[in-house]
Amino acid sequence: MKARSGQATLGKAPALGGSRTWLRPFRPGRDGAFDEAAVLHLLRRAAFGNPPSEVERMLRLGPEGAARALVAGSEPDRAAQSLEDMRPFVLGTESGRDLAAFWFARLCRTRHPLRMRMTLFWHDHFATSIRKVRNAWWMTEQFETFEGLGLGPFPDLCRAVVKGPAMLRWLDAPSNRKGRPNENLGRELLELFTLGRGNYGERDVKEAARALTGWTIIKGRFRFDRRRHDPGVKEVCGKQGKWDGDALCTHLFSLESCARFLAGKLLEHFVGPRWPVEARTELAEVLRERGLHIGEALEVLLASRLFHRPEFRGARLRGPIEWQAWVLRSLGARASPAALHRSAGRMGQRLLDPPDVAGWPEGEAWLSSASWLQRADFALCLGRPGGPFHLDPPLEELVPDRGPEAECGFLIRALLPEGLPRRAEEILKARARAEARLPRPVRLAGLLGALLLVPAAHRC
């Protein structure tokens, strides 16, 4: 269970007029400055990285405008569009690896990074592994659902995902039938997708399983098989009805615990660990007001006082794919999608293959000495000329040639504009000087590698 109950370590918020305190819009001046640091924080949490043009744009838009812009995204440009031409060729190999690589290729060129981030978020939330599903098309369909509906109303998303063939096979829906229930789908629906642990009982799971009988896959599509359905009355979480799966879902979405569950997840992901309990209540309220619309809730959250509080800056540990994406997008570069996928897998986040239904671990569990080794591997190989990542444009073109110390400064400013601790900067500059005689591509690759292993590079 990833959504831990937050502890109110921040002290009680001052009571102001109106029911909302934490999620009140961030006012520059009163709540702090909407400066470069604030924008960097916003970009890192909502997008992946901070391309320089984006920073200025966000500054101009102000906190609410920036949040809206991130949720809305920009129109895909020609590069992103020409990628779509390749889609039938890449997906036609029916290989999970190619499917994952294609996602990485799109990640590098996306003009709507929040949407890609939400795809990852939902992929973790609705964790489904290709190893059991064994059908690349179904996994593609699931990903497209995440992308298409991920920033819309949660009920639409959840229904579409849960009735998708990938999820049905993953949770053995077809073998759930009247008289011989299989509780898998029912349990995960309640525990992982909608309500969360502690908000239902074992009996609710059994009843939910009964409601979900009859859901099956025929010819690769969802079908409701009435013969297998248990038509009786079910009681789930305090209410009764002759529900089928759809009606059950409608009932679950209406529960307060559903909104709270989602709110907790969003807070954990976007704000960081140790969010205040009252914030969840507020966010849940926002969600319910808007029919559990994720995008609108995010607009509120990303522009809120809570989000911009200084104690949350740098409070999260980046996951592997997030970390890769941050580097590439902040540099404005692309890399070999297959190599990125392989590397992310070694770091512990293999796309399309979460370890089990609970998805990937979050936060501090991403890091161990072994996974640090893999991150070091990535960092040191990323810019290497002739290395597996084929960085494009290569570092020697990205970084202007003005001498080793200037190069060092350039890279630091690109990735960590807020600056490094002074000691770290000294170490890096010393290294740049010491390696001045090396060929430029090699020197730059080493510098980038070292910079990526600075502790600050792993937090956002």
């Binding site: 161990s368 072994a370 600050a456």
Partner: protein
């Protein structure tokens, strides 16, 4: 049918493990201490998998049984050259293992299989690896779960799959991530400095950078993981570089894997459990041509490993187990080979076990659809390994109790 998605009773709170497929990931367990000493008194375990379905009848040959000779006019092993006693002999190419048998350091466990057997490679392998014939698509292995339940020790990695890039199911566990390494080099930090001085400078620099971490929980975690990673990688590099074989390992593919196993087990503090695979046992045709070579390679490789570990004084603490996903049919087929069967013998080698035959030999007359049926449930063997060798309770791993065969000493 419950799904592969795991229903753990007290599961996902401590997210300490990462499960990764291929490549090297490690447990979230922080490394404890380095340097001093080895794993004193800790037991080592090598699991060898004969991939494809080994023909046990031609490995441990019931040469005094007329039914055997009648059913295999062309494939039978004649004569009792390497006699083991009780009417059995070894395949003639396995002479390298005979000394171990004579010393009482080799045990043959008869007729090991599982109920309602499946002749599909994949299904049988899943069963043997997971220890759970009741699961349709298991996602964890018995050895992985046992390793996860072992108490912390000084090893860098509790278990390793060696010689392949893919991690086998037998080592998978959500609470302990196990690396699958084609070789030990893939587990070291590769800076681009090949020259020693430059490497050291790089490492010092990286270590110095870690000191600049912010002083909060995440910062401390980052610094600690980085430090441990850098130290551990260097130790492994030194240990691996200074390893010298203490016995002559054969040069064939399996021999190389045995050498790799020795490196992993003996280069200080690396690992305690190793999984190796020996491929090629699916002999549907012309078995005479290939099976002998495979068994010969197995015997020479394992005897070299035993000699090597013995020379290091580790043999008493080591157990090697060879299994296969099924045996083969009694009768030979028309292509000069044998088809998939059901049960087969399991070989155990080690300095501390009770040698000799264990279990009941399978009958060659009372066949189960043409196959010798199993007399020992495989879970008895593995559960005994868990309880008596690895000191891990076997009940949660196998969801049941299985009486031991007593080939291992009582802990």
């Amino acid at each position: 049918m419950s799904s592969s998605s795991t229903r753990k009773s007290s599961p996902r709170i401590s997210r300490r493990g990462l499960l990764g497929r291929g490549g090297a990931l490690l447990a979230g367990m922080p490394l404890l201490r380095f340097g001093s000493g080895s794993l004193e008194g800790e037991r080592l375990f090598v699991l060898v998998e004969l991939v494809g379905g080994n023909d046990g009848l031609n490995m441990i040959v019931p040469f005094e049984d007329p039914a055997y000779h009648a059913a295999r006019p062309r494939l039978r092993v004649r004569g009792g050259g390497l006699a083991l006693g009780e009417g059995f002999c070894l395949h003639p190419r396995m002479e390298a293992l005979l000394p171990l048998w004579k010393e009482g350091e080799m045990a043959v466990l008869h007729g090991v299989g599982y109920p309602r057997p499946d002749r599909s490679h994949f299904r049988s392998r899943d069963v043997w690896h997971s220890g759970r014939p009741d699961l349709e698509t298991p996602s964890q292995g018995w050895l992985g779960r046992a390793a996860a339940a072992m108490p912390k020790d000084g090893s860098m990695v509790r278990a390793m799959g060696l010689g392949e890039v893919d991690l086998s199911l037998v080592l998978r566990s959500p609470r302990l991530a196990v690396p699958a390494l084609p070789d030990l080099e893939s587990y070291m930090l590769h800076t681009d400095g090949r020259a020693r001085r430059r490497r050291d400078a790089r490492l010092r620099e990286l270590a110095a950078l870690q000191e600049t971490a912010r002083d909060d929980a995440i910062g401390r975690l980052l610094a600690r993981c980085a430090r441990e990673a850098l130290e551990g990688s260097e130790r492994l590099r030194e240990a691996a570089a200074s390893w010298r074989p203490k016995a002559g390992f054969p040069t064939h593919a399996f021999g190389r894997r045995c050498a790799l196993a020795s490196r992993a087990l003996t280069s200080s503090l690396v690992t305690r459990i190793v999984h190796l695979r020996h491929h090629g046992f699916d002999t549907h045709a012309s078995q005479n041509r290939t099976h002998g070579t495979l068994l010969g390679d197995l015997a020479t490789g394992l005897s070299a490993l035993a000699a090597d570990l013995r020379a290091r004084g580790l043999w008493k603490r080591c157990l090697v187990l060879c299994f296969s996903e099924f045996g083969r049919r009694l009768a030979e087929n028309r292509s000069g080979g044998t088809d998939h069967g059901k049960a087969g013998p399991v070989l155990a080698l080690g300095g501390s076990l009770k040698g000799g035959f264990h279990g009941r030999a399978t009958s060659l007359t009372a066949l189960d659809d043409g196959d010798p049926s199993f007399t020992t449930d495989f879970r008895r063997v593995f559960a005994e390994v868990c309880e008596r060798w690895l000191s891990v309770p076997s009940r949660p791993v196998f969801r049941g109790s299985f009486p031991p065969l007593n080939f291992l000493p009582r802990s």
